[in-house]
Symmetry: C2
Subunit: 193 residues, 2 copies
Amino acid sequence: MKGRPNIHDDQELVLKAQEVFWQRGYHATSLSDLSTATGAGAGSLYNTFKGGKKELFRKALQQRSADLLTFKQKLEQSENQVAPIKQFFLDIADADPITHQKGCIVVNTLTEMTCVDEDLKQEAAEILTETEKLYKQAIAHAQKHGYIASKTPADTLAKYLVTFWCGLNALRRIYPDKKVLKRQIALQLQVLD
Amino acid sequence: MKGRPNIHDDQELVLKAQEVFWQRGYHATSLSDLSTATGAGAGSLYNTFKGGKKELFRKALQQRSADLLTFKQKLEQSENQVAPIKQFFLDIADADPITHQKGCIVVNTLTEMTCVDEDLKQEAAEILTETEKLYKQAIAHAQKHGYIASKTPADTLAKYLVTFWCGLNALRRIYPDKKVLKRQIALQLQVLD
DNA sequence: CTATTTTTGTAATGATCATTACAAAATAAA
DNA sequence: TTTATTTTGTAATGATCATTACAAAAATAG
């Protein structure tokens, strides 16, 4: 293959860009910010991501869809498939302050892009419905095997968890406090007993 | 008083600006958008709001703090102070599609401004903690008078409601569907029985 | 070594942004 | 009326934005 070799790994560019987008959102992030964060100049960024800023953002967002797949595989190896989900939520309380402030890039995007960019809003919404589907399967599995007593439909409980996830990412911004968060998370997870 | 008279009422300017900020957020709203929405030129807007776009946004946000006070007065006239809160949540399901997409300007601002503008983030956070305080008093009152059986501390339940509010404003964007929302809201309000 | 191809950094480019300058308009006071 | 004062709409202003143009750099292929 001819041509000057890549300095920057494409995937690493996406991850470094994701960090900035995650913290500042789409509109408050400039190409200069992305250049600084990635270490790549505008030339490189536009050569790699022909769609420019928006394509880079899309890739950063869709990365979470890939991450979800990894979590799905972990679930499927569990006896009680709801246990890793509960643990995921409980672990949120232990996160560092910056992580609390960042929240969730998918929820952030849903909020930022609604009434602004229908495509990106829809992409964020779809990642959340994917998450919901994963929750639903895990809950149904756990109910079938007696890990959950509640007769509430798995569908409803899954939507409950997605709602909680979105709410928790607001709460942790207001109260980035381990004790408070642990207590609130425990309360919310009671419906899965 | 000397001088050319006002065409635009200050409060109406704020409310018209609020509508645009509520839908599009701070960064995606241009002064041209605000000029169109309010019917006032840049000259008028800067003459009225010396702080420019940011002051106008602040006023639009703080309007919700005033609205909260109105709700507080309604609460204090109720026998069961938690009843109007439950009703408020249940009524969300009946809102029109655009209202679902808009969500809550306070939660939107908390999300948009975290890691971007500490002042505005804090203002949004404070409106939510004010809301929490209002919930807490109402819940404590209801518990004392036997309207709520749950022994869970009012403080914890109030934070639960704020978390739910933030989550619900994501859920309604994904499912702007009366049946779905009614079901999920009813489930979440069960902790207040 | 030469030609070709791709990446890279930098420096335009043109659009859009928030803000300001300013003169005309419209009132009250004198 | 005349003068003073405030509002209004429009047209600069200068900054910043995303994007593109382009030439140097760095590799491979012939």
